[in-house]
């Protein structure tokens, strides 16, 4: 994913988000001086709360979702990723923090304003689809529009459009129980897109699907995003999936964000052993680009030129044949030399790193 199509301004910001469960949850955060934004240590505070019997689902989560970006939150079950995405739409009420959508704090919104935010600005896709069993495909997709009170004609036109977008034309009058898992999730996606949301939340959208279907849906999701340019928060527990879809990603553990960055940053510079664990099984040649491993030397004349964002996997056959290597052209036009030997060293260092 190149970051070129991503805007530079934050669409949605999550600031110092805490979600605690258990009796008197809010009282744990009453001592303002211990909060991280006032110089306290988040990890220490979270541990303290746990010691007192509280449950910490999200501990001081901070991130910005850029305009048009796919931001993945990755973590194992129980890491708090679902809690965070639910806090963003206030399906779960955060204990403290700020959720800024276009600079406006969602947590200060009145119930009525909140409903309007959900009606016009947000869309959400659920792991187990959340379709209404008594409505057919068309009615499910048009449901949010109906709640808005939209006229039937406009509603139909819009619903038709998104149904076509997800490739379900012809199945409008089927009921959820008659659809396969993949088709049901297409309905879920169409429904969340029907309101033409600005931010789009996907909570493990493909985790309930078969591996083959999952792969196919990921491709279609990326194709959709190329046209739609939504600002997306995508939740998953599958590291490979996050590599495939993410512009940037956050890894969560025990309610806290461990590291935020581009997938390649996480792989090349994992913040700690926990992150490194995930990167172990990653097929590096799929992640690394020519720009990541090119040497600092200027290339000799007359050899093949490739752009810096070429995946090294695509270069392997060529490098096997041509010992002279390739010239790697960076965005600014400068060129560096890269040989098969550079590639082997980079992969080897990765293996060595992950072996420790």
């Amino acid at each position: 994913m190149s970051s070129s199509k991503t805007g530079s301004s934050a669409k949605l910001s999550c600031r110092n988000l805490w979600k605690l469960y258990g009796p008197n949850a809010a009282s744990h955060l009453s001592d303002a001086s211990r909060l991280p934004q006032n110089g306290g240590d988040a990890a220490e505070l979270a541990q303290n709360i746990r010691d007192q019997g509280g449950i910490v689902a999200a501990a001081d989560v901070n991130f910005d979702l850029m305009e048009g970006e796919i931001f993945v939150i990755m973590g194992l079950s129980g890491s708090g990723k679902s809690t965070v995405v639910r806090c963003l739409s206030r399906l779960v009420e955060p204990t403290s923090g700020e959720i800024l959508l276009d600079g406006q704090d969602l947590l200060k919104a009145s119930p009525k304003e909140l409903i309007d935010f959900r009606r016009y600005k947000m869309g959400m896709v659920f792991q187990s689809f959340g379709l209404l069993p008594h409505l057919n495909v068309f009615e499910n997709v048009a449901f949010p529009l109906k709640l808005q009170g939209m006229e039937l004609q406009e509603r139909s036109a819009r619903a038709e459009r998104v149904i076509e977008l997800v490739g379900l034309e012809g199945r409008e009058s089927s009921y959820p129980s008659q659809l396969s898992g993949g088709q049901q999730q297409r309905v879920g996606i169409a429904r969340s897109l029907a309101v033409e949301p600005e931010v789009w939340f996907l909570d493990e959208p493909f985790s309930a699907l078969d591996p083959l279907i999952r792969r196919q849906m990921q491709d279609e999701f990326l194709r959709l995003q190329q046209d739609l340019h939504k600002s997306i928060v995508f939740i998953t527990h599958d590291f490979l999936e996050s590599l495939r879809v993410a512009d940037r990603m956050a890894i969560m553990k025990d309610g806290a964000v461990v590291q935020i960055g581009r997938p390649v940053d996480l792989i090349l510079k994992p913040a700690d052993d926990y992150v490194r664990e995930f990167t172990n099984d990653v097929p590096w040649e799929l992640i690394l680009t020519a720009g990541d491993i090119a040497s600092d030397n200027a290339p000799p004349d007359g050899i093949k030129e490739v752009p810096a964002d070429t995946k090294v996997a695509d270069l392997l056959p060529y490098l096997a044949e041509h010992h002279g290597g390739v010239a790697v052209r960076a965005d600014d036009g400068s060129k560096n030399h890269m040989t098969g030997q550079d590639l082997i060293s980079a992969l080897a260092s990765g293996v060595a790193k992950s072996a420790t």
């Binding site: 639910r86 959340g130 069993p133 949010p144 709640l147 808005q148 089927s174 009921y175």
Partner: protein
């Protein structure tokens, strides 16, 4: 664990000793044997006075409500009578077709033809009018309360125990205060039927609303639903099926109560038709009318159930064709009304054409009795003298030269003692102390009889049983309940109730369990048994009495058989269900190990199915108790009879105390068996599952 079981054994040994002393000393125990009359609290008179005062003070209010309710009943009756039966037949057949296809439609049409041609049409419509008015009321009340109980945890905590209490108080007992407050008339039937029919709707509403998955709720919220949109557009339609099941159960309860309520008389409905003919010993007539009730119950059940189970329409085309069919039906209905004006036969069946095989049936019955009287008498006597009396009065009184051929001489008692003690000693020797103690207790109680054993001993057994099943809380609760039964002076009828119920439950459990096992192993048996027990379960209780009264006349034996016929339903159902729904992998593993079919059944399946079977026992007891009350009609001398007397005399105190006593017995049995089942389930690591 060790010390816990040792403690159990010590407590049970004390109970055993107490019971032994009580059986040996017998009357010498004095007040500990028979609860003294002078200690009975004078509850009846104050209750009646309170009720009298209440009726004087607020009677006008209830009379006013009754007056208001009279109108819709009158309206429904007028309409149902005014519409020619042929037009009703067309409408009902179409509805049945929509709910259950051609089969149900044919059944419905045939049933209506039966009602018409056997001359029961007006009475059927009178009963149906009450049902028609009471269902929407019961459903509305039930839905509202269910929603409240769903929304508010506090309301839930109040509603649930109240429902438990309402559903254990016998149907007859409901009628007494309603009768006193509303006075004679059809309103009593309506009010009783609404009160009786709304609890299942409450339960189903709560279960249905709760079962909507969080994701569906979340997706509704994210679609921007306001709270009221979320409720009406997301929760309620998603819970639709469970809600419609609630309507189904409410409908059946409503019909059942409408029939029972006709006992107060003055109504020319189908229930009264059955009752009055039973009382006049016109069995042919009563069975013909009873069939009408049975048909009505089956149609109402299948139709409401059909609508509940029918999925949402699969595509637009069926939806449209459905709409068209309704229009055609409407046109046919109007046409039928017009045609009936021309052909009077279609609106009023000519008197001369009414089929009346009743006299012939009575004659046939008479002949059968003359032919088989000896055999029938023999069956009745054997059951009575060798099973029922010993449990009721104890061997010490039941055994006499007249019945058993020998007297209860000290020699015979000694032989009995030895016969009991040998297996007890054997069990004790095998270190199965608990079983030994229970067997000894059983031997003692069988000797003393349920009505002939000191109340102290019986109370101790039940309380300790409760303590073991549900801990101290349950034991205290049971003690209080038994205290009420003693102090209100209904101990003796209560023991008769327990005896009748107990014998019925034993019989049902033995036979029903066997049928259940057979059905679980054999699909053919299952397909035969299922519709039978389904039908029995939906049958209004009166109807079940009829065939047994016909054959065995009135008396305890008839009562017992009718109770068994009804209470065997859950015994079969739960046994089969438990055996068929075992963890698949366990059965597979056992088969792979090489179990024979019998080993699989007895060493794997049955032990695993025990919790489900225990729940079946629980339901068997509940079914038996609800039928027990109805059998007061055939002359029992238990609590049910007291309620019936209270109803007949308008004696609120007598009826209500007996009603509460019955509810206490039901709740004690319910709590103990539920707890035992739950404990076993926890031990086996199985999930609690509820049929019903």
């Amino acid at each position: 664990m060790q010390s816990k079981s040792r403690q159990d054994i010590i407590v049970w040994l004390i109970v055993l000793a107490l019971t032994a002393v009580a059986v040996v000393l017998n009357d010498d125990l004095g007040v500990l044997f028979k609860y003294p009359d002078h200690l009975v609290l004078p509850l009846i008179e104050p209750m009646n006075q309170g009720m009298r005062w209440f009726v004087l003070a607020f009677g006008w209010f209830f009379k006013a409500i009754g007056w208001v309710f009279d109108w819709p009943i009158l309206f429904a009756k007028t309409i149902l009578h005014a519409v020619p039966w042929f037009a009703t037949l067309i409408l009902a057949t179409f509805v049945a077709y929509r709910a259950g296809g051609t089969g149900l439609a044919v059944f419905c049409a045939a049933s209506i033809l039966y009602m018409v041609s056997f001359g029961f049409w007006p009475q059927s419509m009178n009963s149906f009018a009450l049902v028609v008015i009471s269902i929407p009321l019961a459903v509305a009340v039930g839905f509202a309360l269910g929603t409240w109980g769903y929304l508010s945890a506090r309301a839930y905590r109040v509603i649930m125990p109240t429902l438990d209490l309402m559903q254990t108080i016998p149907a007859f007992a409901y009628l007494i205060p309603i009768l006193l407050l509303f006075g004679f008339g059809t309103t009593v039937g309506l009010v009783a039927s609404v009160l009786f029919a709304f609890p299942p709707m409450v339960r189903n509403t709560i279960v249905g609303l709760r079962s909507v998955t969080p994701t569906v709720i979340d997706s509704g919220l994210m679609s921007g639903a306001t709270p009221s949109q979320l409720f009406w557009n997301v929760r309620v339609p998603t819970a639709r099926r469970q809600l419609l099941l609630g309507v189904n159960q409410s409908t059946m309860a409503s019909l059942s109560m409408v029939i029972i309520a006709s006992i107060i008389g003055g109504t020319n409905d189908i229930g009264w038709e059955v009752l009055s003919t039973i009382r006049k010993a016109l069995f042919g007539e009563s069975i013909l009318a009873g069939i009408v009730i049975a048909l009505m119950a089956m149609i109402l059940d299948r139709v409401t159930n059909g609508f509940a189970m029918r999925g949402t329409p699969t595509d637009e085309r069926t939806k449209q064709s459905g709409r068209r069919a309704w229009i055609i039906c409407g046109v046919a209905f109007v046409a039928a009304i017009l045609v009936a004006q021309l052909i009077p036969l279609l609106s009023a069946w000519p008197k001369a054409w009414v089929l009346n095989p009743a006299p012939a049936m009575n004659a046939a019955l008479e002949w059968t009795f003359l032919e088989f009287r000896e055999g029938l008498e023999k069956i009745k006597q054997i059951a009575f003298f060798f099973v029922m009396l010993p449990i009721k009065l104890g061997l010490k009184q039941a055994v006499s030269p007249y019945t058993w051929g020998f007297a209860m001489t000290p020699m015979v008692i000694a032989i009995y003692a030895v016969l009991v003690l040998i297996p007890v000693a054997l069990l004790a020797f095998k270190r199965r102390i608990m079983q030994a103690i229970w067997l000894a207790l059983l031997g003692l109680v069988l000797f003393g009889g349920l009505t002939g054993t000191a109340w102290v001993a019986l109370c101790a057994i039940v309380i300790v049983l409760g303590w073991q099943a549900g801990g101290r809380g349950l034991a205290i609760w049971i003690a209080a309940g038994l205290g009420f039964i003693l102090a209100s002076g209904i101990w003796n009828p209560a023991t008769v109730s327990v005896y009748l119920c107990g014998v019925a439950v034993l019989v049902c459990f033995a036979i029903g369990g066997a049928i259940g096992i057979w059905a679980s192993e054999n699909d053919k048996v299952s397909t035969v048994v299922r519709p039978i027990i389904d039908t029995l379960q939906t049958m209004p209780l009166f109807v079940i009495l009829i065939p047994f009264v016909m054959v065995f006349k009135i008396g305890e034996f008839t009562a017992l058989l009718s109770i068994c016929a009804f209470a065997i339903v859950p015994a079969i159902r739960y046994t089969e269900h438990g055996l068929r729904n075992l963890p698949h992998d366990v059965v597979e593993a056992a088969t792979a190990i090489g179990c024979t079919r019998n080993q699989l059944l007895f060493q794997v399946k049955l032990p695993l199915a025990v919790p489900s079977i225990m729940l079946g026992l629980n339901q068997t007891i509940m079914f038996a108790i609800s039928m027990l009350v109805i059998t007061a009609l055939v002359g029992t001398d238990d609590l049910g009879q007291q309620i019936y007397i209270g109803l007949g005399d308008g004696d609120f105190g007598v009826g209500m105390i007996a009603g509460v006593g019955m509810a206490i017995i039901a709740m004690i049995a319910d709590r103990i068996t539920q707890n035992i089942s739950r404990n076993m389930q926890a031990k086996l690591g199985l999930r609690q599952e509820n049929l019903a």
